[in-house]
């Protein structure tokens, strides 16, 4: 197989000329903070790998900074549409029992979670 040669304009990136290494890199503390915000318990053995790969991703997307975007409106949706409303009518019947078949723990129609208040 021919290896994929990174295109010059992406592989080389238009990142800062002064430092060819990771211009943007994340610290372990930052990654732990992100994981906490994202409610993810990271595997200790893979933590360094996560820091490395996330840094590479953030570094890669950082090339967006070169784009001239003054006076450009952010694009929120691919088509020029607005939110459609529907009439406030009941259209579904109660399917609680069927839906709760997928829940890990239920009792009397309630979802059970570990005790929150001591």
């Amino acid at each position: 197989m021919l290896p994929l040669g990174l295109p010059e304009h992406l592989g080389g990136l238009r990142r800062g000329q002064e430092n060819p290494e990771h211009l943007v890199s994340l610290t372990k503390d930052q990654v732990q903070h992100i994981a906490t915000l994202a409610r993810l318990k990271l595997d200790d053995a893979e933590f360094d790998d996560v820091v490395d790969k996330l840094s590479r991703i953030v570094d890669f997307v950082d090339q967006l900074q070169v784009a001239a975007t003054d006076h450009v409106l952010p694009m929120a949706h691919p088509l020029d549409t607005s939110q459609r409303f529907r009439a406030d009518e009941v259209t579904e019947e109660n399917k609680r029992d069927e839906i709760q078949k997928n829940a890990p723990k239920v009792e009397n129609g309630y979802y059970l979670v570990p005790k929150v208040i001591e």
Binding site: L4, H9, A38, R39, L40, V50, V61, D62, L64, A76
Partner: protein, 491 residues
Amino acid sequence: MGQDTDALHTRTLTELANALRNGEFSSRELTEHLLQRIHESQDRLNAFITVTADQALQQADAADKARANGNKESLNGLPIVHKDLFCTKGVLTTCGSHILGNFVSPYDATVVERISAAGAVMLGKTNMDEFAMGSSNETSYYGPVMNPWDTRLSPGGSSGGSAAAVAARLVPAGTGTDTGGSIRQPASLTGTVGLKPTYGRVSRYGMVAFASSLDQAGVITRSAEDAALLLGVMAGYDERDSTSVDHPVPDYVAGLDKPIKGLKIGIVRQHFDEGLDAGCEQRVKEALAVIKKEGATLIEVDLPNIDLSVPTYYVVAPAECSSNLSRFDGVRFGRRTDNPEDLLDMYCSSRGEGFGAEVQRRIMTGTYVLSAGYYDAYYLKAQKVRQLISEDFKQAFRNVDIIAGPTAPTTAFALGEKTDDPITMYLNDIYTIGANLAGLPGISIPCGLVDGLPAGLQLIGPHFAEETILACAHQYQQLSDWHKQGPEDVW
């Protein structure tokens, strides 16, 4: 049935529809034949997560009965498989993830509902990258899919199971979803046809959400004609998806006759940069020469910001995914960790154990670019660049009917080759992501072989111009037979 049995699996949906109508064989005979092939292939290809044999035979019998009673549903008795991202009532829907390993949907996705209502027979649910996040099918919790052209190679992703199943002649058609190229890239790598419609053309109701402003359902088939047939069934407004568009659905099959002559085809300079494998470039240029010879005009167009499409995507898609995947909390559905210490640990451990490494990376990337202090620099910036890219396409489509070029930078690559570096993997979608950012329809069709492996030609159209790209693809397929070439049976 007799000697015809052997050739059943090589026929397209359209050919099978005619044969069923002519009584050459029954849906049950067809279904049994394909189920047998799926069964035999599974160890080598791993294209399926669930095979719904019993249900398929029931549907086939019902289809045979309906046909005998004069019922003329458009997909009556025709086999199909669904990417395991579409909810299917009473059937496992895992999305390739451990966290949904026991999820049985209480309802059908609109795509599934419409295809079933048209009489199709579902053979099973296909393997995929976990939550559709991947370009090689290697992020699936259920193991990678192997490319039927060479089982050491990846079929691409994320709709790799559907692509491999169609390429291996296990089934003539499968559904897929395309957020950054997940239908078109595997189609290119497996020598199949992959259609990603305009954003909003097909309802997303019942699709497990990845990036809601980019996700779109489509199909993988062996001909543009079959893609047109299926799109006609799937497309249309659905009140259960507020982003589906109330736009008339044309007769896509009738539209296939439109000639290539007179079409203005845009060629993007950046699509032929040094990142493109020389063999793929050659095949794509040959296909363009065929199209030109038929009377199309090739025009160079400029997409000045297209170089930034991959980094833009890797801000926008992770941001939306981090939000969408917050629903997996171990409370209402999906897997929960055993013996959590407290509520917070239940969330964190359930998600840490339930999501694979790539999904975790994307959730964290998204969380980072949306977090305080970084939102403006990354998320808002990316949404602005997305606007620029979208404007570039609008500008280009003032002068051309279609933009044509390669689908993927290379033919199929080896399993394991790109798993160490996420960026190398992300760049697989360098030619496909633009259409998702701008919400445009795109199709990949086989345009030749490079060292015995298929290469793909991509056609991108303006919003709701599926008819135009399907017709061009179909007309090209009247002049070439690349789409009829398949791998040898490898099991």
